[in-house]
């Protein structure tokens, strides 16, 4: 039987509904409590006045306070920076929420803990504020890491700044993100006033060529270190630098490139100077004359020093007058050197180098050290040319436009070069003197030879002119055979006196217009040996004595005085033999009339390779027949 009335049913249903509601409420309560218990982020729930109503377990853990110590207190009391948290409260009330504001809280032990504060306002159904949540995220690890990073960055920065090389870091857009102190200082010294960080490297270093930036693209793409020698332009200056481009990776990609710029301009210049000085030192002995030497020095020096205006002045030993030995002047005014007390004479007279600017020159004029002459120079550099203890001149460079173009280093270079120049000048002067002496000696020797020939011709009129004609012919044959001029000279002198030995043969034998008997002939045949005895003591450069003694020897050994064969007869003697025979046959003799030149040539042609040397005969025939040589 169903005893339930409608009223009872309604009550039962209401009871059941309330029980379900209560069940749901319990579940919600557990859910909320669990959230508070396990919430990993320290969270506090505050009433609108900032009084703590609840905290999560993690909040207790963060601050070291128990919940009952925290609840009822103000959140403000926990913060080390009161103003900061008030500010956050204000923002929260205005904006309903605040995210990640950094603050510092103080735990129970009094230690400060950096936290990120986030807040969220809680409102009721009528939009009235009933409280707010405050979440504190402990960022002490991050702050420590940041502090460590700051320290690390400071150390890194200090390290970079302590390095003398310029260092900068560029991003993928080739914008500079960092420069070290050395580079910053260098840029400042060079008058680059712009702040390099944030600028493109193209603007700071005037990189106009595509190659300069393609290197960076390559490092970004390939991730490989690149070392190169580059010409870096900053302001108006250009430097030679060893540039290292080092990739900085972010995972697999190159994020930035560190560039280390090591200025090697000075080193390069030193190398260039050494090269130039080496070239000058090695070539100075190979040049033929001083002008060529001065040209060479100017050319090589031009690689390291401005030689637009360059001259070398030398002092004459005799009258001590100073004159230009070499000069190049941009104004074309290089004909003569001003006389009087000039800068050049100052260097020479005082035996000291001089590097002076326009103002210095004016001062020197005022003090009377030099005379008042036009001063077109902005800078003038002269060094004395010292040979042993004597100053023989000066080497000078000057510039009419830039007073900074020369330095003390340039002076040292010129001083080094001046030693080379002075040595070369002295050597050349000595050579000239030797050559002059030699020429004088040669002239003297030639005069003696001519005198000896004249003496012989006075005793033997038939040989008058013979020796000169033989000499001409012998020289012509020698040249045809390609002998040197020195050899030709030797043949010439030997030919002029080849019959000097006849001076010991009685004149009546020499001049007798009949054939000589055997005894007389034997006497005549002694003249080559006597001639040898006469000239052997004279120190000729060429074997004149041997030419004289062998000029009657024959290839087949049938000649005199020694009857030696062709292999023992020197070439010059074989030439003289042919010339002597041809000239003798073509000339009148007391004992026979003169033959024609053709007959004479036929005679030597007939005995070619028996009495006379084949090559010499052929040369002789050629000069007569082809070259139309005439004896007279």
């Amino acid at each position: 039987m169903n005893t339930a009335s409608p009223g009872n049913n309604k009550t039962a249903k209401e009871t059941q509904r309330l029980m379900h509601l209560e069940h749901d409420l319990f579940a919600l309560e557990r859910y909320i409590n669990d959230i508070w218990r396990f919430l990993p982020v320290p969270v506090a729930y505050l009433n609108p006045l900032g009084i703590i109503l609840d905290v999560s377990h993690s909040f207790e853990g963060l601050l070291g306070h128990k919940k009952e110590e925290l609840v009822g207190g103000t959140l403000l009391g926990l913060f080390a920076e009161k103003e900061r948290i008030k500010q956050i409260q204000d923002i929260t009330l205005k904006k309903s929420r605040v995210c990640d504001h950094e603050c510092v809280v103080r735990n129970k032990a009094g230690e400060t803990i950096p936290v990120n504060v986030s807040t969220l306002i809680r409102k009721d159904e009528r939009n009235d504020t009933i409280g707010y949540f405050v979440a504190l995220v402990d960022i002490s690890q991050r702050v420590s890491a940041e502090q460590a990073l700051d320290v690390s960055e400071s150390q890194y920065r200090a390290t970079l700044d302590s390095i003398g090389d310029g260092i900068h870091v560029v991003d993928k857009n080739l914008h500079i993100v960092m420069v070290n102190e050395a580079l910053r200082r260098r840029l400042r010294d060079l008058g680059v006033d712009i702040e390099p960080v944030g600028k493109s490297i193209r603007d700071v270093f005037r990189l106009s060529s595509p190659e300069a930036t393609s290197d960076y693209q390559s490092v970004f793409e390939n991730g490989e270190l690149l070392v190169s020698e580059e010409s870096v332009k900053v302001g108006n200056r250009e430097f030679i630098c060893e540039v290292r481009k080092i990739p900085i990776f972010d995972g697999p990609d190159v994020r930035q490139v560190v560039t280390v710029i090591h200025d090697i301009t000075a080193r390069k210049r030193e190398e260039q100077i050494k090269t130039v000085l080496y070239k000058i030192s090695s070539e100075v002995n190979t040049v033929k004359d001083l002008h060529e030497l001065f040209e060479l020095i100017r050319k090589h020096l031009g690689a390291i020093i401005d030689t637009t205006n360059f001259f070398i002045a030398l002092r004459n030993k005799a009258d001590r007058a100073v004159s230009l030995a070499y000069s190049v002047d941009e104004r074309g005014d290089s004909e003569s050197l001003p006389q009087g007390r000039t800068l050049t004479s100052y260097v020479i007279e005082n035996n000291r180098s001089l590097l002076v600017t326009e103002n210095d020159i004016r001062q020197m004029k005022r003090s009377g050290e030099i005379e008042s002459i036009d001063v077109p120079f902005k800078v003038w550099l002269g060094v004395p040319l010292r040979a042993k203890d004597e100053v023989i001149g000066a080497l000078v460079v000057s510039n009419n436009h830039d007073p900074t173009v020369y330095t003390r280093k340039d002076m040292e270079i010129l001083e080094f070069v001046s030693e080379q120049v002075a040595a070369a000048v002295e050597r050349k002067r000595a050579d000239d003197e030797v050559q002059q002496t030699l020429r004088r000696l040669k002239n003297t020797s030639t005069s003696i030879i001519f005198t000896m020939a004249k003496i012989l011709e006075l005793r033997d009129p038939y040989t008058a002119g013979h020796q000169q004609r033989v000499a001409r012919l012998a020289c012509a044959i020698a040249r045809e055979l390609g002998l040197t001029e020195e050899q030709v000279d030797g043949i010439f002198m030997a030919a002029l006196i080849h019959d000097i030995g006849k001076i010991y043969v009685p004149a009546e034998i020499l001049n007798r217009p009949a054939r000589l008997n055997e005894t007389e002939m034997d006497l005549v045949k002694t003249h080559p040996s006597i001639g040898y005895d006469i000239v052997k003591e004279i120190d000729f450069a060429q074997p004149v004595d041997r030419i004289v003694v062998q000029h009657h020897e024959r290839i087949d050994g049938s000649g005199y005085p020694n009857g030696i064969d062709g292999s023992s007869i020197i070439l010059e003697a074989r030439i003289l033999a042919v010339a002597d025979v041809v000239e003798a046959m073509a000339s009148h003799r007391p004992y026979r009339p003169a033959l024609s030149i053709d007959e004479a040539l036929s005679e030597i042609e007939k005995y070619r390779n028996t009495l006379y040397d084949t090559r010499v005969v052929d040369a002789c025939l050629k000069i007569f027949r082809d070259n139309n040589f005439k004896l007279d």
Binding site: E22, L25, F26, L28, E29, R30, I32, N33, Y45, N47, P48, L49, G50, I51, L53, D54, K66, K67, E68, V71, G72, T74, D124, D128, I130, G131
Partner: protein
């Protein structure tokens, strides 16, 4: 010690109280004496033949009001609490109260806040009524009356702390004082508390 007669009187009390009021007791004991302290309280309940395990009590659940009184009495006995300690316990309770956290609105002391007092009372107890009979924000006092609530004197001291703390939640850095000016156990028609602040 709770006598058998007292126990019998208490369990005869009619009405219900939210579990939240009991859990604040447990939270207080645990905060002061640790879990061991709470175990001692639960052991004392078992000795009374009225076993209670606080962990099963739900904040939003309704429980016999006798349990509310017994909880305080047992804790008082186990730890030898004096009236002042009970006041402190009441003072601490709002800090652990789920209801306070979830439902209390702290809008300062005003007429509007005063109107919320009855509702707030009924949120915790099914018997008795509470109202703010006089509110004077400028003078710095409020008078709260609790009627039809003659359960046990132990609650008089407890409420002194509890109401003080609730009002303290509405002030920052201000001293709040409370005094029970009328008590039903002293023959007054209702309980009355005068709460003042500077």
């Amino acid at each position: 010690m709770i006598t058998r007669a007292e126990f019998q009187d208490i369990i005869k009390l009619e009405g219900q109280a939210r579990g939240s009021t009991l859990n604040t007791d447990a939270a207080y004991v645990e905060s002061q004496e640790g879990k061991e302290g709470l175990h001692k309280v639960e052991a004392a309940f078992r000795q009374l033949g009225y076993p209670v395990e606080y962990k099963h009590i739900k904040d939003m659940g309704w429980y016999p009001i006798c349990l509310r009184v017994l909880s305080l009495r047992v804790i008082q006995d186990v730890f030898g609490l004096k009236p002042m300690d009970l006041r402190t316990m009441g003072d601490t309770a709002p800090k652990f109260s789920f209801l306070v956290k979830v439902f209390m609105k702290f809008t300062g002391v005003s007429e509007l806040a005063a109107r919320r007092v009855p509702g707030y009372w009924r949120m915790h107890y099914s018997v008795g009524d509470m109202c703010a009979s006089e509110v004077n924000g400028q003078a710095g006092y409020v008078i709260v009356q609790l009627t039809d609530f003659k359960t046990h004197q132990i609650l008089c001291r407890y409420f002194e702390g509890y109401f003080r703390r609730l009002l303290q939640f509405s002030f920052v850095d201000q001293d709040v004082e409370i005094r029970e000016t009328k008590c039903m156990f002293k023959g007054d028609p209702h309980h009355e508390y005068r709460i003042t602040w500077k």
